[in-house]
Symmetry: C2
Amino acid sequence: MTKREGKVSIFSLGGLGEIGKNMYCVEYQDEIIVIDSGLKFPDDDMLGVDLVIPDTSYLLENQQKVKGVFLTHGHEDHIGAIPYVFKDLRAPIYGAPLTIELVKSKLEEHNLLRDNPLYTVSSDEEIHFAHLSVSFFRTTHSIPDSIGIVVHTPLGVVIHTGDFKFDFTPVGPKAEISKISKLGQNGVLALLSDSTNSEKPGSTPSESSVRNGIEQIFDEADGRVLFATFASNVYRIQQAVEASISHNRRLCVVGRSMKKVFEISRKLGYINVPEQMIVDVQSVNRMPPSEVTILCTGSQGEPLSALSRIAQGRDKWIQISTGDTVVFSSSPIPGNTVNINRTINNLFRAGANVIYGSILDIHTSGHGHQEDLKLMLNLVKPKYFVPIHGEYRMQIQHSQLAQSVGVPAENIFIMDIGDVLEISSEDARVVEKISSGTVLVDGSGVGDVGNIVLRDRRLLAADGIIVIVVTVNMRERQLLSGPDIVTRGFVYMRDSEQLIRDAAKMIESLIQSMLAEDITSWGDWKYQISHELGKFLVEKTGRRPMVLPVIMEV
Amino acid sequence: MTKREGKVSIFSLGGLGEIGKNMYCVEYQDEIIVIDSGLKFPDDDMLGVDLVIPDTSYLLENQQKVKGVFLTHGHEDHIGAIPYVFKDLRAPIYGAPLTIELVKSKLEEHNLLRDNPLYTVSSDEEIHFAHLSVSFFRTTHSIPDSIGIVVHTPLGVVIHTGDFKFDFTPVGPKAEISKISKLGQNGVLALLSDSTNSEKPGSTPSESSVRNGIEQIFDEADGRVLFATFASNVYRIQQAVEASISHNRRLCVVGRSMKKVFEISRKLGYINVPEQMIVDVQSVNRMPPSEVTILCTGSQGEPLSALSRIAQGRDKWIQISTGDTVVFSSSPIPGNTVNINRTINNLFRAGANVIYGSILDIHTSGHGHQEDLKLMLNLVKPKYFVPIHGEYRMQIQHSQLAQSVGVPAENIFIMDIGDVLEISSEDARVVEKISSGTVLVDGSGVGDVGNIVLRDRRLLAADGIIVIVVTVNMRERQLLSGPDIVTRGFVYMRDSEQLIRDAAKMIESLIQSMLAEDITSWGDWKYQISHELGKFLVEKTGRRPMVLPVIMEV
């Protein structure tokens, strides 16, 4: 980035024009404050890819400027990239207690704990650097210890809301509204605010509003209650815990991530449950069904989750039987609907009573609807506004909300990742684009799967592959062996022997004629074989498998 | 099926436990009445598959019994399998005018029009066979000419509702409620009723309820209006046509299927538009934007549709510019959400004002909500009830609705495809299972893609393939050429030369040691190479590509 005296630069390496891999930066002189370092789950067409993380090459090139990474909360789309980004990047990591505990366990898994110091902050602290300092305010969201980040610059204050809604009757502590309001009164240079629910009218219902729905389920359940939600939705889990205790049910926690977050949250005091109320999964089957609650993951139909396994009758310990009640305390993330429905159908088939969707009020979002967003804008009264954390349509809607409460259109910046918003004491504008993008993680490889590999995977997925191998003695113009044909994912070979024989015959005569015509270039051979075989197969089958000729010379 | 004197059998070859490929049958003595013959779109894990159709082997084995196929309406999930099923099956096809016109154009495309007689019926006709006869009643749904089917048997009347809602202010003709009611008064043996919206409380809003939303959009639009809906949603299109005419906009119809249905519907009088109001796409750009409405498909974000092309700036004639309004007059089908959102984002980026989702009342479903379903049950008062056309959870909810209006639980049958419900004058029960299932269509192949091919496609999609070829002279225990390694979809080969060289070296020494140990069985070679190479690659890359060893012997 061009060095600009006395100007504040704001840019994002992930989270604009997309949901996921959040990473935002505030730069002033030789100091960069990084906010979040999240991952994204791959799109459907990113076949075989495990995770998507931001391209952080700009930060690596400016390693010495990076003063710290400040985490707003512990969701994967905000902390999930840390083990990959912090393999190379060295910087202290700051966050509230639960966030830091979750990061710690991630870094431990990747053997990276020693290299990056972790600092647990309270929302009242302020961290000072040479020109910049950072303070916080508590927000309400679907995980405890969510905070907004305030970057104090010589030109004014930049506020990043983190993920938030305004919950006036939260299950945990309240948001620090007066702190936000005071910042607003003193003047805020720029606001970066969560756009996730900017399309949704009204206010987001409070977390405590689902309490009645949960109580009703426990009142009516005769058999076991299986309560499925995100492992990180700690206050939801606390509500299920309280309902269980008041209904004399003991708790069984199932699934690796659910167990991990449950234990950390108990240690931090965010989940309160007496030790004797907890039972292990092995003893659940020996207990009367009406005395058991099972807490599990899988509310998004994730194929590898505990609930999917249970729904398919593949779990070692927990089998659904008639009388069991299964609660989906979550809303479907787009793209997961088909898997969720499959799980629900399987549970019904196994005999469970399944409570899901809009049947009862058993879920509320952690992201502010339009009225929440307008309240934030009214409290902060920013000079410049950047809608963040959302797809383009959400950014657009958020921009319209901001205009409706009086932010001038020309002071709103709908940015893309990599865009640099430069703010001076006079004005603000997008001045340049730095390197940014998506880095794909597949197995232990980070960034080595690119467009060519993905294109090949898509071709292979659609119609499979046909491999033709010949061994030739080019000097003597002699076909020594083959053509041998092997296919995978194209046709079932045993049912298609004639097709394969015809294809082999066709290629053999093609080779003989190439030999007779003195065509000996491998390039020509490969092109001719691919071309002729492709034509033959599309005509016979209507399919276009990948054709892979291998010529062995002896 | 075991022959049973004096009993009525009801079974389904598609549409139970699933949305799609609807096909239901009523059998009595030597007569089978088939209702619908639909297709289903493949699940995400059916890689490369184009369509899914029912397994109709039972009907082929009983070809002489099949008296006719009666179509409830012209949606793909009710008529889409006809060109595949009727390649082999011979039977007359009956349906209302629009349905038959749509089938005709399908059969023409497949060159099958001569082989199967098509009969256009009115809802007042009755078709008589030796023991059975068939009559109809008009319903209201999201396509004109939707009908319910009444099969008159010696044991009583079997009613199949088709897809329906109760629309008391429809855009087209009203449902024949009094006919349904009269059937109910005379006693109905069994009701098969649409379960699609059985999870949704209340009544489905009328088609005419979206009129205000549409008018408002046209009132406010300054530039062009692009109106996207299903091609088959003819009454919706008629409403857009009327709004266009009243706002002095001419109509441009875009997309192959939209054009086809538009023309058929005009011919049948279901769309009324003066010829001079229609403009072709080539002249649209020369007209003032405020005088144009573009009707197009693509409301489900289908990648190959007109709207997706337009949104990506890839359409030859239509480019989005600032001031254009794009309307999504549809609701997302689960599984399409991600594609729809992508299209909306692209349209916003191109400068359009996009109206979608719950922003305005611009869509209503064609399937009855709970109150509609209860009204049908109350009118028909069936002895036996079979919830059809839905996933298991929808069948369950529909069964609960039926119980709430007084159908005894033991008279409700939640069936799966292939289950045969046998009704005698005394009782009804599921007695056996006939052959049924899914047949996959891929290219020109029908049924030749099975589990093995799909499993291979999934493996190939996840991590690609690595092919290792060696040429050996087994007699002289000599490696003549190779190992040559080719990969696709695994790693980018140019960036992974060292990995490939190491793998080749490893395989070469493995082969040399097998030759030295006199191991010459190809099976042993292939196993050893696959095993060792797989182990090597998972350790180096964390990936498990398909390993394909090819041994050429000279």
